[in-house]
C-alpha cells in the first residue's frame, strides 16, 4: 500500500493531460457560444444597456464619469466572441499554466454579459442603468467574507484537518460580533470576540478529530448544525426581546487619503472597512508563513505526510491544533466581517457562504492566492444573484446561486486542471 502502490499513476502522460485541457477549452467555448446566442442574439436588436461608474454612496467623489450606453446585442456578442477566442487559444496552444485563471476570466466575462443582458432597456434611451462601481463594491464585500472563510480552510487543510465548520464559525462570529458591537459600539472588540468564538469552535473540532480521531467531516457538519440551532435559540431568547443587543451597526469605511479618490479602483480597494484591510494583511501573512517560513514548512509536511514529519521531530498533533484554532479565529473574523457589512444578525443569514468559501478553497487549489481569485469570482456571482432581482429577468436567482457550486463540481471532477488536496487532508494521525 501507501507510497509504493500509489506511485504508478503520478506521472502525467501527455495524452490525458491534453484531453483535460481540451475539455476545459470546450467548456469555455460552450459558455461563449451560449453568451453569443442567448444573451447577444436573444436580446432585441434595438435594446441598449447603460453603464454608470460614479458610486451612489460616494457623493463627495471628486470625479464623475459619465454613463456609457452600449447596444446590448453587440456587446454581448463581442464578449461571447472573446470567450470563444480564449477557448480557442487554450484548445490550440495548450498552455501549461494558468488554465484555471483563463477559465476564471471567462466566468467573470460571462457574469458581465449576463448583467448587460439582464439590465437591457428596449430602446436607445435607457430606463435603468448598471452601476459598475456599485457592483464591484458590493461584490467586494461578499468576496472579503469568502476570503476570510477560504483562508481559514487553507490554514486547517494544509495541516491535514478538513474544516467543514467554517459556516458555523461564520455564524458564531456574526452572532457574538453583533452583540459586542451593539453594546460597546466598537468593532475592535467585536472582532476580538468573533475571533475567539471561531477559535473555540476550531478547538472543539481539533479536540474531537485529533484527540478522539472522530471523522472530521461529521464533526464539522455537527458543529454547523449545532451553531445554527444555538444561534436561532439565542436569537429568540436574547436578541428578539432585547433589540439593543442587535442594533445592526455597519463598520465605518476608512478611506485612505488620495488612493480612495481614484476612479472605480478607489472605492473598491481604498474606501473599505477595517475588515477589508485586515483581510489583505491576513492573506499576505498566511502566504508568507505557509511558503517562506520554517513553521509553514512544518505545516505543509504535516498535511502531506505526517509520519515523515514526526520522524524528524515535528509534533504533528500540536501543529494541527495550532492551525485549526488559528483557522477558526480567521473564520470567526469572517463572521464579524459579514455582520459588519450586512447588518443586524438574523437567523440563517450567512446562508451557506461558509460552504461557498470551502468551494473557493478547492477552486483556489489550497493556496491563499488561489483562494483570493476564486473568492472574487464567487463573490461576484453571489452578489449578482441578489442584485439581479432588481432587474426583471426570467432567470431564478437560485440558478445563479448554483454557479459557485457548479464551478466547484467541475473543478473537483478534474475538468479544470489538476487539483490535489494535501495528501493527509482529513486523515486522522495515529502515533504508533
Amino acid at each position: 500500500m501507501s507510497l509504493l502502490s500509489t506511485r504508478t499513476t503520478s506521472k502525467e502522460t501527455p495524452l490525458v493531460k491534453n484531453r483535460r485541457t481540451r475539455v476545459i477549452a470546450v467548456l469555455m467555448a460552450l459558455i461563449g457560444i451560449f453568451t453569443v446566442f442567448v444573451f447577444g442574439w436573444g436580446s432585441e436588436s434595438r435594446a441598449h444597456s447603460s453603464l454608470t461608474f460614479t458610486p451612489l454612496n460616494l457623493t463627495n467623489a471628486p470625479w464623475h464619469l459619465g454613463s456609457l450606453t452600449v447596444v446590448t446585442r453587440w456587446t454581448d456578442v463581442v464578449l461571447g466572441l472573446v470567450m470563444i477566442a480564449a477557448a480557442a487559444e487554450v484548445f490550440v496552444r495548450q498552455p501549461r499554466r494558468a488554465v484555471m485563471a483563463r477559465f476564471g476570466g471567462v466566468a467573470i466575462l460571462f457574469l458581465l454579459a449576463l448583467l448587460f443582458w439582464a439590465a437591457r432597456s428596449p430602446g436607445p434611451s435607457p430606463v435603468s442603468s448598471v452601476n459598475i462601481t456599485t457592483i464591484l463594491v458590493g461584490s467586494s464585500a461578499a468576496a472579503m467574507v469568502l476570503i476570510f472563510g477560504s483562508l481559514s480552510g487553507v490554514m486547517c487543510e494544509r495541516a491535514g484537518v478538513v474544516n467543514i465548520a467554517i459556516e458555523g464559525q461564520f455564524i458564531g462570529g456574526a452572532f457574538l460580533g453583533s452583540m459586542i458591537v451593539s453594546t460597546t459600539h466598537d468593532f475592535f472588540f467585536a472582532a476580538i470576540a468573533g475571533a475567539v468564538a471561531g477559535a473555540l469552535i476550531g478547538l472543539v473540532l481539533a479536540f474531537l478529530s485529533l484527540r478522539y480521531r472522530s471523522d472530521q467531516i461529521i464533526v464539522g457538519v455537527v458543529l454547523v448544525t449545532m451553531l445554527s440551532s444555538l444561534s436561532s435559540y439565542l436569537n429568540l431568547q436574547v436578541l428578539t426581546p432585547f433589540p439593543n443587543f442587535n442594533t445592526g451597526n455597519l463598520a465605518p469605511n476608512l478611506a485612505i487619503p488620495l488612493l480612495s479618490k481614484i476612479p472605480i479602483i478607489g472605492p473598491v480597494f481604498f474606501n473599505q472597512s477595517g475588515f477589508f484591510y485586515l483581510m489583505i494583511v491576513l492573506v499576505a501573512a498566511v502566504s508568507f508563513a505557509l511558503f517562506k517560513t520554517r513553521y509553514g514548512l512544518h505545516v505543509r509536511a504535516v498535511g502531506e505526510h505526517p509520519r515523515a514529519a514526526a520522524t524528524v521531530g515535528i509534533n504533528v498533533i500540536r501543529v494541527r491544533y495550532i492551525n485549526v484554532v488559528l483557522g477558526g479565529a480567521i473564520a470567526g473574523l469572517g463572521g464579524v466581517a459579514f455582520m459588519a457589512t450586512q447588518g443586524q444578525f438574523q437567523v440563517g443569514y450567512t446562508s451557506g457562504w461558509g460552504y461557498i468559501a470551502l468551494a473557493a478553497l478547492i477552486f483556489g487549489r489550497w493556496r491563499p492566492s488561489g483562494a483570493v481569485v476564486a473568492s472574487i469570482i464567487f463573490g461576484l456571482s453571489v452578489y449578482l444573484s441578489y442584485e439581479l432581482v432588481t432587474y426583471q429577468v426570467p432567470v431564478s436567482i437560485y440558478i445563479l446561486q448554483m454557479i459557485p457550486y457548479l464551478i466547484t463540481i467541475a473543478v473537483v471532477a478534474g475538468l479544470i486542471g489538476r487539483v490535489r488536496a494535501p495528501a493527509a487532508d482529513g486523515q486522522p494521525y495515529l502515533r504508533d
Binding site: 500500500m1 501507501s2 507510497l3 509504493l4 502502490s5 500509489t6 506511485r7 504508478t8 499513476t9 503520478s10 506521472k11 502525467e12 502522460t13 495524452l15 490525458v16 508568507f288 517562506k292 517560513t293 520554517r294 513553521y295 514548512l297 512544518h298 505543509r300 509536511a301 502531506e304 505526510h305 509520519r307 515523515a308 514529519a309 520522524t311 524528524v312 521531530g313 515535528i314 478534474g414 490535489r420 495528501a423
Partner: protein, 504 residues
C-alpha cells in the same frame, strides 16, 4: 562511530520480540543483520532509533552507555535511519525534504533555502549521490528517492546509518549503485547497519553478518559463507532455495491478451497496449519494478478495473470487461497483490474466507441459504491439506500470521478447478518456509498442465518460477525473455531498455 548493543530484550506482552540481542558495529564497517520477516529485525531497529524502549539491555556508543529515549535523541547521537517506506513528502523538493525539522533560518523564521541547497550539493558531491536539490521528490525514480533519504540522514551528521530493507523497491541496477554508495560511505568512516533477508545482497556488500531468528542471535557469519548455509541459519532448517520443476512442455495457448489499455486511479494510462500469450503448462512471470502498471494489468484481467481498449481471451472466449463474479466463473483464480485488502475479509472466519469465491454455489449453498456444515467440512479439509496454522477455523482471518493468511488464499484459489491462475506478488512479506510452500503449489498447478501468470517484483522469484519472463516498464512490455538470460539483461528491461538493446 562504534555501536554496541548489549543484551537487548524487548517484550510485547507474553511475546518476546528481541531476546538478549548483542552485536557490535565498528566504524567504517557494513554490518548486515539477516533474518526472516518477523525475526525481530524491525523491533531491534526501532529500539535503536528510539521508537521503542528496550525492557532490558543497553546501547553503547563509542564505548559509553547511551540511552536513546526518542528518535530526536537518536539523531543527535549520530544515528540516521533510512526507512523501508520512505519518510519523504512527495510534493516537496529534495531540499525541503532534507531540511525538514532541521531548517537553517533567517529573520522572521524564514527558511534559508540557499544555504540548505549549498549544503545538500556539497554532501551530494562528497558521497557521489548525484541528487538535484531542486527536484520534486515524487518525480524522482525510487532509487533516487532513497538517496534523498540517505542525504537526509547525512545532513543530520549521522555517523551510523541504518538501512531497513533498502533494496526491496529497487531495480538490479539501482541495487548495484546503492551498494557502491554504501561502500563509499563506509570508506568515509561511516558505520552501516544493513537489514535484509536477501542472501545475495548480504554476500555482496557486508563485512560482518549477524543472523537472527525468532528474536535470538543465532550466530555470525562471514560474507564468504554460502547462500544455503546462510539460509539454513536464518530459517533453522535446511531449505530448498530452488523449486523443482518438471520439464517445460507447453501446450495450446490459454490466455491471450491483445493491445490492452487500462487507466490507473488518476485517469492516466497505466497499461499501454500490452499483448501477452500464456500457454497450457506454462508459468509466465511478469517482472518489473512495482508501479509500472502490473497492478492495473492484473486488475483488468480479473474484472476489477475496466479495460479501455484491447481484448482478453481465455481458451478462445472473449473475457474482456467481465465482472469479477463472471471472471471467477470463467475459471480465473486470483491471488491478489494486497492480501489483506483484496484477498480476505479479515473480520470473517477462516472457514468463510475459504469459500469467499463460491459462497452461493453448491455444495456451500442451496436454495439461497448457506450450508454451514459443508463450509466447515471444506475448511477442515483445506486447513489440513494446505497446512494452514490456525487455532480455530471459526477464528477471524485477522488472527492468522501473514504466511498463513496467504495460505488461506492459495488454498481457496487452487482447491477448485481453474482454467487459469493469476498470482500477484504471491510471496510478499512471507518467510522463507512459506515462500517455499507457495512456490511448490504454483509449480504443481503448472505441472498439471495449467497456465498461470505470476506477477512479482522479486527477481529471484521471477527466475525461479517463470518458464518465460515478460518485463513490464511504464505500462508496456519491454521484452519477453527466457529465464536463462542474465539478471543484468532483465534489469535493463526493467529500466525500459527494449529487448534488442538488452539481449547483448
Amino acid at each position: 562511530m562504534q555501536l554496541e548493543l548489549r543484551g537487548i530484550t524487548k517484550r510485547f506482552g507474553s511475546f518476546t520480540a528481541n531476546d538478549q540481542i548483542s552485536l557490535k558495529v565498528e566504524p567504517g564497517q557494513i554490518h548486515s543483520l539477516l533474518g526472516e520477516n518477523g525475526a525481530g529485525k524491525s523491533t531491534l531497529m526501532n529500539v535503536l532509533f528510539g521508537l521503542l524502549r528496550p525492557d532490558e539491555g543497553e546501547i553503547l556508543i563509542d564505548g559509553v552507555v547511551a540511552p536513546i529515549a526518542d528518535s530526536g535523541e537518536a539523531v543527535r547521537r549520530g544515528i540516521g535511519m533510512v526507512h523501508q517506506h520512505f519518510m519523504l513528502v512527495p510534493v516537496f523538493s529534495v531540499t525541503e525534504n532534507v531540511v525538514l525539522g532541521f531548517e537553517p533560518t533567517k529573520s522572521f523564521d524564514r527558511v534559508d533555502y540557499r544555504r540548505a541547497t549549498e549544503d545538500i550539493e556539497r554532501l551530494s558531491q562528497q558521497f557521489h549521490l548525484d541528487v538535484d536539490p531542486d527536484a520534486i521528490v515524487e518525480n524522482l525514480p525510487v532509487g533516487l528517492q532513497q538517496r534523498v533519504e540517505i542525504l537526509k540522514a547525512l545532513s543530520h551528521d549521522a555517523e551510523l546509518l541504518i538501512l531497513d530493507e533498502p533494496t526491496a523497491v529497487l531495480t538490479p541496477q539501482e541495487i548495484d549503485s546503492l551498494m557502491a554508495i554504501m561502500r563509499s560511505l563506509a570508506a568515509a568512516g561511516k558505520s552501516i547497519l544493513f537489514i535484509t533477508h536477501k542472501l545475495k545482497e548480504v554476500k555482496a556488500v557486508a563485512d560482518v553478518i549477524t543472523v537472527i531468528r525468532q528474536g535470538h542471535v543465532v550466530g555470525t557469519a562471514e560474507p564468504s559463507a554460502s547462500e544455503s548455509e546462510l539460509a539454513s541459519m536464518m530459517v533453522g532448517r535446511n531449505v530448498q532455495l530452488t523449486v523443482e520443476k518438471s520439464p517445460f512442455n507447453p501446450g495450446a495457448e490459454v490466455l491471450e491478451v491483445r493491445d490492452l489499455v487500462v487507466l490507473g486511479d488518476r485517469g492516466l494510462v497505466a497499461v499501454d497496449g500490452v499483448s501477452i500469450d500464456v500457454r497450457a503448462g506454462e508459468v509466465m512471470a511478469l517482472a518489473g519494478v512495482q508501479g509500472n502498471g502490473q497492478t492495473e494489468f492484473v486488475e483488468a484481467l480479473v474484472g476489477m478495473r475496466p479495460v479501455l481498449s484491447g481484448t482478453i481471451t481465455l481458451h478462445g472466449r472473449d473475457i474482456t470487461n467481465l465482472t469479477p463474479r463472471q471472471a471467477l466463473d470463467a475459471g480465473l483464480g486470483h491471488i491478489p497483490e494486497d492480501r489483506q485488502r483484496d484477498g480476505l475479509v479479515l473480520s470473517m472466519s477462516v472457514a468463510d474466507n475459504l469459500v469467499l469465491n463460491t459462497p452461493r454455489r453448491a455444495p456451500f449453498a442451496r436454495h439461497g441459504t448457506r450450508d454451514l456444515a459443508a463450509v466447515n467440512d471444506n475448511a477442515v479439509r483445506l486447513v489440513h491439506d494446505f497446512d494452514i496454522r490456525t487455532t480455530s477455523i471459526q477464528g477471524p482471518a485477522s488472527s492468522l500470521s501473514g504466511g498463513n493468511q496467504q495460505k488461506v488464499i492459495v488454498a481457496r484459489e487452487l482447491s477448485r478447478p481453474l482454467e487459469f491462475l493469476i498470482a500477484s506478488q504471491p510471496t510478499r512479506g512471507l518467510d522463507v518456509g512459506s515462500i517455499e510452500y507457495v512456490h511448490r503449489q504454483i509449480i504443481e498447478h503448472r505441472n498439471h498442465g495449467n497456465g498461470s501468470l505470476i506477477v512479482s517484483s522479486e527477481l529471484d522469484e521471477v527466475l525461479a518460477l517463470g518458464d518465460r519472463i515478460a518485463v513490464m516498464y511504464e505500462g508496456k512490455i519491454s521484452g519477453v525473455v527466457d529465464p536463462s538470460v542474465s539478471r543484468e539483461s532483465i534489469g535493463l528491461l526493467m529500466t525500459g531498455h527494449t529487448s534488442e538493446t538488452a539481449s547483448v
